[in-house]
């Protein structure tokens, strides 16, 4: 991953350690120090807030800026994340998707990415490590063409810590695909401009609408870049979404990120058994490709959205977008919240879901492999005594040894 980012020739890279992205930044730091990535300024900052802020300054001064974060780190920099998008600065950031505490948890889910859903950043989700690497090259190009920041989301540990061979694109090909950064706005003493002025009600709506339009432009540009990428690199990656075995599918599973691999295996298995089931993997989550999602799900009767995050007190985040895209279609939409805090999503669980959906047994909202016994025990405890203590610790105490249970109870 670091090697691919390096071939994008970032000029300013900010580093602040947070699992599970740290090793990417470490490797880039080593390249800068060894002189193999040059010219590049590698800056060890004191917080994620500073990491994004340094990136903002570097980008506004005309440098190609890159950083990476995860989870709490993304939340800590959030004010600057919004600011980078509002200022229209084409920063690229890797988000190694990780749960958000409390309870503190370093493992994978998509809570962090969903918290950044409305920031104005383009959000791309990688299914595999090859796609994660390729998406970075596309991300820099996309960011700089639109003058918008791009977040490349890759599942923490599942992708970031997977050891697998990938094809690192040749420098010449990357250079041809990704020309030098030519900023739309730049701090230049010889042509002084003010950036970041106060905007009142008289113009705020228009400025924000322009940002929206640029995101919508990305819906045109992203497929075009995917075609260009495939032409140059001989691989199909990027794009808005990818459909798998959906042609005659009556049940379609929708998801983001690495879990798509497991879902495809489950779909293959159900296909062998005669089920008409397919998968839609969404690569571009923001801007949300409403038209493409509607078309991809046009023939389905049941849509099962498997998502690694949820809005507490509401339900599925991705589900709401899919529901909006398919609001006039005669489909039954089901939300499955799965893989929270690193809980393994097994092929067997997915197959059961598909089966339940086909048999009309799947509720509208399901928490996959939820241990209701433990939940009920804690509920009873809370009802029986006022000072029932912290729920997370109570649940852990009930569970005892947990390592054997990360795959769920089924």
């Amino acid at each position: 991953m670091a090697e691919t980012v390096a071939r994008c020739r970032p000029e300013v890279v900010c580093a602040y350690p947070i699992s599970p992205q740290t090793h990417i930044i470490e490797a880039i730091g080593a390249m800068v120090k060894a002189g193999t990535l040059t010219p590049c300024e590698f800056i060890n900052v004191e917080s994620e807030f500073a990491a994004m802020s340094v990136s903002i300054g570097a980008s506004a001064a005309g440098a190609r800026a890159y950083t990476a974060t995860a989870s709490q780190g993304l939340l800590f920099m959030m004010e600057a994340v919004y600011n980078a998008a509002g200022l229209g600065l084409p920063i690229v950031m890797t988000l190694a998707n990780r749960a958000i505490g409390a309870p503190i948890n370093i493992w994978n889910d998509h809570s962090d990415a969903m918290a950044a859903r409305d920031t104005g950043w383009i959000q791309l989700f990688a299914e595999t490590n090859q796609e994660a690497a390729d998406l970075h090259i596309i991300a820099f190009r996309l960011a700089e063409e639109l003058s918008l920041p791009v977040m490349v989301c890759m599942d923490g540990f599942i992708l970031t810590h997977a050891v697998e061979g990938i094809d690192v694109p040749e420098q010449g090909d990357v250079d041809a695909f990704l020309p030098a950064y030519e900023p739309r706005q730049v701090l230049d003493p010889d042509e002084p401009i003010s950036i970041g002025a106060m905007v009142g009600p008289e113009a705020f709506t228009e400025v924000r609408y322009l940002a929206h339009l640029r995101q919508l432009d990305a819906l045109e540009l992203i497929p075009a870049l995917a075609v260009e990428f495939e032409t140059r690199f001989g691989r199909e990656n990027g794009g808005l979404l990818h459909s798998y075995r959906t042609q005659d599918a009556t049940t379609i599973v929708v998801a983001l990120g690495s879990v798509l691999g497991t879902i495809k295996d489950a779909v293959d298995r159900r296909r062998e058994l005669g089920d008409r089931v397919g998968v839609v993997g969404i690569t571009t989550f923001r801007p949300f490709p409403f038209d493409e999602v509607r078309r991809a799900l046009a023939n389905a009767r049941k849509v099962v959205v498997v998502e690694k995050a949820f809005s507490v007190g509401y339900g599925g985040v991705l589900s709401a977008d899919v529901a909006s895209a398919t609001h006039d279609a005669p489909i039954s939409l089901h939300t499955v919240v799965a893989g929270l805090g690193g809980r393994a999503i097994t092929q067997r669980s997915i197959e059961t879901l598909i089966d339940d959906a086909a048999q009309d047994r799947l509720p509208l909202v399901t928490f996959l492999d939820l241990d209701l016994d433990i939940v009920n025990l804690e509920r009873e405890r809370m009802d029986s005594v006022r000072r029932s203590g912290p729920s997370a610790e109570n649940v852990l105490a009930k569970l005892g040894t947990v390592a054997s249970r990360i795959g769920g109870s089924s």
């Binding site: 300013v12 004191e46 300054g57 506004a60 600057a80 002084p192 003010s194 106060m198």
Partner: protein
């Protein structure tokens, strides 16, 4: 730049006209060669010390860099009054990002300039005291620790003025703010450690730290000039009275700033690599009462009942500073060690 001491022979007045100075030393408000970095037409209050300080600091930086300057601004009065969209008073390359990140944004600008080989372009970051000692402190400390090539200027008006005069970590004891009201047995802000930002900057061992006030604009300009001769992290802390927040007359901004220095409450000095190298001595020692009594924020000390006990405690702080920094010209004292009051 060598500085020649200027001797004044007027008595009974702190106001010294340009006519007593050599041409080269005169303060020139308006000149075709002046960069007017912060141009007229902005919306600062009458008598704003920050607008004055910023104008002189940035024009001095522009002179020192031959116009090759980029400024980063924290959120605050200076940002708000200078750039109500679509107008801007800045005639220099200027970027505002957030309240608490100006030092880090400036680091990013400096890094971009370095990577692009633009070594002649320099970076100034500026913020009020809230953006410096409170919400921006983490980023500022990081910038100092890395010794990034940024001059950071704090315009200290001792409270959050833009939001309506709330206490900051730089608010002095007994001062009334909207969150330290002049009620109760200990009216106004508490007596505490406060945040002595110049000393905190010195503790980072950065190449240059200085304080200044808008009462002595030549001194301010000289310090900016000196700062721009140095590479690495530099810190300039400028006391800028705020008539609105301090309850002082708009026409008294210079007078109040001068008294802050002449009482010893605001020591004016320079330090290099953590060591004080020069102190601006008090010319006419003033009592803190002279300083406090012309500011509404201390009005509760002089009402009914008066609080001479609190005034005496503030005088102790001034006396400590005088002794600690040798502000009466006693240069034998060691002024490098941090000692709390």
């Amino acid at each position: 730049m060598t500085r020649r001491p200027v001797h004044f022979y007027q008595v009974g007045s702190f106001a010294v006209g340009n006519r007593l100075l050599d041409e080269v030393d005169r303060t020139v408000q308006s000149d075709s060669r002046r960069s007017d970095s912060l141009d007229s037409g902005h919306r600062a209050c009458q008598g704003c010390g920050e607008a004055l300080g910023a104008r002189y600091a940035l024009d001095a930086a522009m002179r020192a860099t031959k116009g090759q300057l980029i400024a980063v601004n924290a959120t605050g009065c200076l940002e708000v009054f200078s750039t109500p969209y679509p107008e801007t008073s800045w005639r220099i390359a200027w970027l505002h990002s957030l309240f608490g990140n100006a030092p880090a944004v400036a680091t990013g600008v400096a890094a971009a300039l370095k990577v692009k080989g633009q070594r002649d372009v320099r970076v100034v970051a500026q913020a009020g005291d809230g953006g410096t000692v409170d919400i921006g402190f983490g980023c500022l400390s990081g910038m100092f620790e890395r010794n990034d090539d940024v001059l950071f200027i704090c315009y200290d008006n001792e409270a959050y003025m833009n939001t309506g005069v709330q206490r900051s970590g730089a608010t002095p004891p007994a001062a009334r703010t909207a969150t330290t009201e002049s009620v109760g047995p200990q009216p106004g802000n508490v007596f505490g450690q406060g945040k002595d930002m110049p000393r905190l900057a010195m503790a980072h061992g950065i190449p240059y730290v200085a304080t200044a006030t808008v009462a002595d604009l030549h001194d301010l300009e000289n310090k900016v000039q000196r700062a721009m001769e140095i590479h690495g992290a530099r810190y300039l802390h400028i006391l800028v009275p705020c008539p609105l927040g301090w309850g002082s007359a708009s026409c008294d901004t210079i007078k109040v700033a001068r008294l802050a220095k002449e009482t010893g409450l605001f020591p004016v000095f320079e330090a290099e690599h953590g060591v004080v190298t020069a102190v601006s001595p008090i010319r006419h020692l003033a009592s803190v009462e002279e300083y406090l009594s012309i500011q509404g924020r201390y009005g509760h000390l002089f009402g009914t009942p008066a609080r001479p006990d609190i005034v005496a405690r503030i005088q102790q702080i001034a006396d400590h500073n005088i002794a600690h920094y040798g502000l009466l010209g006693d240069t034998s004292r060691d002024v490098t060690l941090a000692v709390s009051v």
